[in-house]
């Protein structure tokens, strides 16, 4: 009897190994499941939401959740001060949060990688200038710097995302630089250089793929930071502007009702907490799976 064994591709083997270590962390798997559910909710928000998130039902101002006395069955989690359905706003808010996370991480990651690669690869005064600028950004408390930047650019979701990305970017630049400096004198880079690879190819094709582990973990942490900071800016009135259904803005609008209508305060915050917690759980799992020191050989 002969059995044909297909040669397994390297990529598949790496992925399987990654999943093996990742799935050992039960919390990370739960976090991933919650995160995937959030993506599903965000994509299908128009189908899942029972009402239009900005439609005001003036006969149902501050209606409590449906299970509570005085609640209306068509508004499961109640309504806010102007009669908008809280559940529908939460569902559409998932969209905002995920968009914020993706855009911020993309800008910070790309900017940080470029700066880190250039600083680490070229060294000398280029490195000094770039890293001192990064130090200056890190010297300011992140939320304060983001707030001031939004004050310059004007309140709004896009400006808040740009500000948060700028504040988070030094972490990526530092990580990339450190990884490039560790890698650039290794033999495989020398070999590529001797084989005639140009600077750009050396940086992007040869060195960068070997620095991706820490960057992915940092990307996850930055995603949760972005969601939190954007919600904080929204809460302070400097992020998404009403009537956009953003969780932080929803909390800001609900502040004056905290002692009379618990549901308008509780649910948006819970949504932020669950999202950030899920992403942090995934981040912990990724760190364990991608950190060779933690792997048991």
């Amino acid at each position: 009897m002969t059995a044909t064994v297909k040669p397994q591709s390297e990529r598949a083997r790496v992925l399987r190994e990654f999943w093996f270590y990742f799935s050992e962390n039960r919390g990370a798997v739960i976090g991933l499941a919650v995160f995937l559910a959030l993506i599903f909710v965000a994509i299908f928000a128009p189908l899942l939401a029972p009402h239009d998130p900005i439609q005001q039902y003036r006969d149902f101002l501050l209606a409590p959740p449906s299970w509570q006395e005085g609640g209306a069955s068509q508004f499961l989690l109640g309504t806010d001060a102007v009669g908008r359905d809280v559940l529908s706003r939460l569902i559409f808010g998932a969209r905002q949060s995920l968009i914020i996370g993706c855009v911020v991480v993309f800008i910070a990651l790309v900017g940080g990688i470029i700066l880190g690669l250039v600083a680490g690869f070229f060294g000398g005064w280029v490195d000094t200038v770039i890293m001192r600028v990064m130090d200056v950004i890190l010297a300011f408390p992140s939320l304060l710097l983001a707030l001031v930047m939004v004050a310059i650019l004007g309140p709004g979701l896009m400006n808040a995302m740009i500000a948060i990305a700028i504040v988070l970017q030094p972490h990526f630049a530092r990580l990339t630089r450190a990884a490039v400096m560790a890698e650039k004198n290794k033999e495989y880079v020398m070999a590529a250089r001797v084989a005639g690879a140009g600077r750009f190819r050396l940086m992007v094709r040869t060195i960068l793929p070997n620095c991706m582990g820490p960057l992915i973990v940092q990307g996850t942490l930055s995603f949760s930071n972005a969601v939190l900071d954007a919600a904080a800016l929204g809460f302070l009135g400097m992020g998404a502007q009403p009537p956009i259904p953003e969780w932080g803005t929803m909390l800001a609008e609900a502040r004056e009702f905290i002692l009379s209508a618990w549901w308008v305060v509780t649910f948006p915050g819970l949504a932020i907490l669950i999202t950030v917690l899920a992403i942090n759980l995934v981040g912990d799992g990724l760190r364990d799976a991608l950190d060779p020191k933690l792997k048991r050989s």
Binding site: G27, V136, P141, L143, L144, L259, N280
Partner: protein, 335 residues
């Protein structure tokens, strides 16, 4: 040690210059005429426009403006608030003790709970205590503190009626502002109930501000302790028959705390950001709330000065942490 200190100080100079450039550039980066922007929607007369331009120095070359700005900093001149017409430094120093009092209480709370939580979690690795405490730490780390503050207000102020909703002390009490620290001033005033009132106002904001640092300190303490517990000298101490508490207390804890001290120091920056939110929720009259108020009323000299002062404080605290780290760990000093 002196070489180490000089090295650290020299490293700060470019960062300080960068901070001044950012703070200086802030008002100049505003799109459009900054004076008109500061005036907001209510507009401004041409005379007041010219007066403000001259006051802020916008009518001079940019390099001269910057040098004047830096020279002013060294002379304690951080500009004049447009809202109150008082020096920014004076306003900041009046409000800073409130933020400091809150931050000190929060860091004490975070340390007193965070370190034992992390250390016990490491000692009892894999136990239910470890899993629950680290789960709680992760929840704390993920907490939107502005929401957490509102929840605590609903529970402790609204439902239970145990703590006040906002402010630093009841209006019933009045005494001179001695140290600026309400706990100390109320105690020194000798007024019955003043200290209890100040303390009850401080509890919820401190818990809120301490939440994230507590989680970070607990996680860091656990991983530092785990690393130390696997070291050879700990195994040797155990093999020599020392009690588990002596091994942990005498040998492991002291070494495990070295990275934790750095973590605690780094939380000061996190706290300054947290103070903005905490002070806004609890109407705490500190520099965080003042910054938010200054931004919303377009008092840009105050924002500029506040930005510079806060960044300066964070920079100095980080320097002190670096130096402390060098003192505790000679390997860092001599590397």
């Amino acid at each position: 040690m002196i070489r180490f200190l000089i090295g650290k100080l020299a490293y700060l100079i470019p960062t300080f210059i960068g901070i001044t450039v950012v703070a200086f550039g802030f008002v100049r980066l505003l799109p459009g005429d900054p004076v008109l922007l500061m005036a907001g929607e209510r507009g401004i007369s041409p005379e007041r426009h010219a007066e403000l331009s001259a006051q802020l120095g916008f009518d001079r070359p940019i390099v001269v403006q910057y040098l004047d700005f830096v020279m002013g900093i060294f002379q304690g001149d951080f500009g004049t608030s447009l809202a109150t017409r008082r020096p920014v430094l004076g306003e900041f120093l009046t409000l800073f003790p409130a933020t400091m009092e809150l931050a000190i209480c929060a860091i004490i709370l975070a340390t007193l709970i965070g370190i034992p939580l992390g250390v016990f979690a490491a000692i009892k690795r894999g136990s239910a205590f470890d899993q629950i405490s680290m789960g709680a730490a992760l929840v704390g780390y993920s907490m939107p503190i502005f929401w957490w503050g509102l929840l605590l207000i609903i529970l402790f102020s609204g439902i239970l009626g145990w703590t006040p909703v906002s402010g630093r002390i009841d209006f019933l009490y009045f005494f001179p502002n001695g140290t600026g620290f309400m706990l100390i001033d109320s105690l020194m005033s000798g007024q019955k109930g003043a200290f209890a009132s100040a303390l009850s106002h401080l509890i919820l904001p401190s818990i809120v501000l301490a939440t994230i640092p507590m989680a970070v300190i607990a996680r860091q303490s656990r991983s530092a302790m785990l690393e130390v517990l696997s070291e050879d000298y700990v195994r040797t101490a155990r093999a020599k028959g020392m009690s588990a508490w002596r091994v942990v207390g005498v040998h492991a804890l002291r070494n495990a705390m070295i990275p934790v001290i750095t973590t605690i120091g780094l939380q000061i920056g996190v706290m300054m950001a947290g103070a903005i939110l905490t002070e806004t929720i609890f109407s705490w009259p500190g520099v965080g709330k003042w910054m938010i108020d200054s931004i919303s009323r377009r008092d840009y000299p105050s924002v500029q000065g506040g930005l510079l002062l806060i960044a300066g404080i964070v920079m100095i605290v980080n320097l002190i942490v670096d130096l402390l780290y060098g003192i505790i760990n000679p390997r860092i000093r001599h590397s």
